[in-house]
């Protein structure tokens, strides 16, 4: 594995296509996931791929990887057509991919994951050395002997990258790599990618919903809509609004663009006293927010959600320590912090997946018996889990079943599920939340990543919870859907729901929350009313410095 640099130098000069797609098409029943797609991917360039949820980006990449068989079209490496029937072929061709939903085996260690798919004897010491070497070369620090299930999303991403880069790919595909990363981690990723294309002359395909990233990081950009290439340009010759328009096929609102750009929404950025974004005017949300701003802990009404001195110890490591937080009805409280500081543990706890070592969760003033499965749900807590892929949906059950899963009582009579009622409910939700699915009976697995998210959102929001916990609710959503999500969370709050927004994105908490609690190393380092929350103050709290 020391040959990477030498080999890179032998490679052809920049801007010769490493990979050419010609007329690639793929249908899933009535759904056209790829429609006669032409795409050139050049060495030494980052090629951005944009498109709404379900536009066919992942499908196209899976075809390149041999995970999905195309109906027609040719894949060419240089000028020679090649066949990619399975992932082994892709590896042989030097195509590596970091998947939208990570493809690591949780129960294995980092080095085991990295060498998975190789051949030959296992040499643990050599494998660890290689991991360390690749990790040093690209500046992706990781402990090779750590178990993957213990790693944060950012660290997993590093492992995926190391796994790919160790195989010295000529084409590296990244499917929404930043949707689970913090800003710092994204920056780190782009540094690596720049090195990979500039110094090592590889080709990179980058899928992202964040226009700011695409404009900042890519050289070429292609937009897909409903499986078709609708736009292609050198990145320097286009603008974010143009890209947004091409994606959606119409002009998009400024706010939506702002969100998609990963920038603060235009009507409420920041530091100076003004709340970043008001909830819709004349709503109870505002008054609740105002009162809690004044004296968060001592408001007269009982908080809808109260976390009291929650401590969670996993394998001797204190992941949450004495975490206390109140959320009043009609209030959106943002829990902001860098990934891996206990947010996912809190999410697991509020999903009922783990129990605290000490402390309590109170809903509407009453402690919840956490030992009882489903107690939180019954007490009126809805949750949009962070990892929707593994704990939000049952991938092999149908869209309709997933949509009604938590309210199965409403669609059944005399102990039987009424398919008619189930479909009626599912149809309504699918329409309301713009879920694009081949059919309501299709397994959730067959939906695009963003549409899988929408299934979870639809189910949790429609259950009419008194408290809604939303962990990274906009991850993987496209421009329009993010805007829609924000609107729904605001509506929920103004309807009296207590919303706890767990997010690693500063713009998101600043745009939505009326109070912002900052979490660092499993403890709350400070709670600020949104009006007083500046990027600097939050930054200090995030770093563990009390404000």
């Amino acid at each position: 594995m020391t040959t990477v640099d030498e080999r890179a130098r032998e490679l052809t000069p920049p801007s010769t296509p490493a990979l050419r797609l010609r007329g690639i098409s793929k249908r899933y029943g009535p759904v056209v996931a790829a429609d006669n797609v032409d795409l050139d991917v050049n060495r030494g360039e980052i090629h951005g791929l944009l498109g709404e949820n379900g536009a066919g980006k992942s499908t196209l990449m899976k075809i390149l990887l041999g995970l999905v068989q195309r109906d027609s079209g040719t894949i060419m490496r240089g000028d020679t057509p090649v066949d990619v029937h399975d992932p082994q072929d892709a590896v042989a061709l030097g195509i590596g991919m970091v998947h939208q939903h990570f493809s690591l085996i949780d129960a294995l260690t980092v080095w085991e994951n990295v060498i998975l798919g190789d051949t030959g004897r296992i040499d643990r010491a050599a494998a660890c050395r290689q991991v360390e070497e690749v990790s040093r070369r690209y500046g992706l620090p990781i402990d090779p002997t750590a178990r993957v299930e213990r790693l944060s999303a950012g660290e997993r991403q590093r492992v995926e990258l190391i796994k790919c880069l160790r195989r010295d790919p000529s084409v590296l595909i990244l499917d929404e790599p930043t949707s689970v990363l913090t800003q710092a981690e994204s920056a780190e990723l782009f540094t690596v990618l720049r090195h990979v294309v500039r110094a090592e002359n590889r080709a990179v395909i980058l899928i992202s919903h964040k226009l700011a990233e695409i404009t900042a990081a890519t050289d070429q950009v292609t937009v897909l809509r409903k499986g078709k290439v609708v736009f292609h340009s050198a990145t320097s010759e286009t603008t974010p609004p143009e890209l947004a328009r091409q994606m959606v096929g119409r002009d998009v609102s400024l706010r939506a663009e702002g969100a998609a750009l990963g920038m603060l929404p235009v009507d409420g950025p920041v530091p100076s006293g003004e709340p970043p974004a008001e909830p819709p005017p004349e709503t109870p949300a505002e008054s609740a927010a105002a009162s809690s701003d004044a004296a968060p802990a001592t408001t007269g009404t009982a908080p809808a959600l109260r976390l009291r001195d929650l401590t969670v110890v996993i394998d001797g490591v204190t992941v949450l320590s004495d975490l206390s937080l109140d959320v009043a009805p009609g209030e959106i409280v943002g829990l902001y912090g860098v990934e891996g500081n206990g947010q996912s543990t809190l999410g697991d706890l509020l999903s009922g997946l783990i129990l605290p070592s000490s402390g309590a969760v109170e809903l509407a003033g009453r402690p919840v018996e956490l030992e009882r499965p489903g107690a939180l749900h019954r007490a009126g807590l809805g949750i949009i889990p962070e990892d929707r892929h593994s704990s939000g949906v049952v991938l092999d059950m149908s869209v309709a079943e997933n949509l009604v899963m938590k309210s199965i009582g409403d669609v059944s009579g005399r102990g039987f599920v009424s398919r008619r009622k189930m479909h009626a409910v599912a149809r309504r939700l699918a329409a309301e939340f713009n879920i694009v699915a081949p059919s309501l009976d299709a397994p959730v697995r067959s939906l695009s990543g963003g549409n899988q998210q929408r299934v979870v959102l639809a189910r949790e929001l429609s259950a009419g919870p008194g408290v809604l916990v939303a962990a990274q609710p906009t991850h993987g959503l496209d421009v329009g859907a993010i805007e829609d999500m924000y609107r729904r969370l605001r509506d929920a709050a103004s309807g009296g729901v207590a919303v706890l927004l767990i997010s690693t994105e500063l713009e998101e908490v600043m745009a939505l929350a009326s109070r912002i609690a900052v979490i660092c190393s499993g403890r709350i380092t400070g709670v600020l009313p949104a009006a007083e929350a500046t990027a600097e103050r939050l930054g200090m709290l995030v770093g563990g410095v009390a404000a």
């Binding site: 399975d86 992932p87 493809s103 690591l104 085996i105 949780d106 129960a107 051949t119 092999d396």
Partner: protein, 304 residues
Amino acid sequence: MSAADNISTILSSGIRLTVPLAFAACGEYLAERAGTMNISLEAMMLGAAFGSVATASATGSATAGLVAGVLIGLLIGLVHGNLAHRLEVNTFVVGLVLNALVLGLTSYLITISSFDSHQVSQVSVPWLRDIPLIGHPLFVERWPVYLLLLVVPLTWWLVERSRWGLELRAVGEQPQAADVTGIRVNLRRRQALLWCGALAGLGGAYLAVGEVGSFNQNMTAGRGYIVIAAVIFGAWRLGRTLLGCVLFGLADAMRLALPALGLTMNSQLLVVAPYLLALVAMLVFTTRNREPKSLGQPFVRGST
């Protein structure tokens, strides 16, 4: 007989009753780590028991019988794997059908044929066999017993240290992710089933041409299921799994020894007692398990 003699006798027969289970357990353990719940273990053991006796009788060699047993186990593993993976028939259904088929077939064949009795030879380790109490039970055994000393560490090494085992574990945990990485999930699972078949066959053959010397109808009597239970309650760890097998073997030995010790009990109750005891003990001692994640839904495979 002295108390020490009694204990020694019970230990001896306990160990002999454990051996077939231990072989099969090594196989089932590996298959389950790869994500296949191999219900046809019973068929593998029973078929191998019958095949070994028939072969031993035909060739006059008990060792040939053992080999035949292994081959029959492999064959059943092959059939199971192909039905379950290539034809995508539910693995539980395949297992139950194979079990019923082999039970019926061997029960019928034994009524229409008669076999000579053959048994593999005994090895007795000098010096060590003279250790009081445990010397005789541990060091005077039919030779295949000593194969366990090879099979157990080998199984552990394969699963925990070899590349093949790494891929098996990956496949047992997250087949989709393994597939994306370029591992042929179903091929690995079929290979694991073959390993399982060979060892279950060895176990079944040992029971027939090692211990008993003949075949009787349904002679495995649900031991395959006991082994499956042992793997589950052993929390997918080889050591604990084998412990469960020893427990069952000892309980079974107690059952056989009770009448000789002058204790009488309802005979039906006696027969189920070891099963009950093993189950209860395994339930009590089981800890939070480390079930291979895809074992819960072993047949859902989204690999393309």
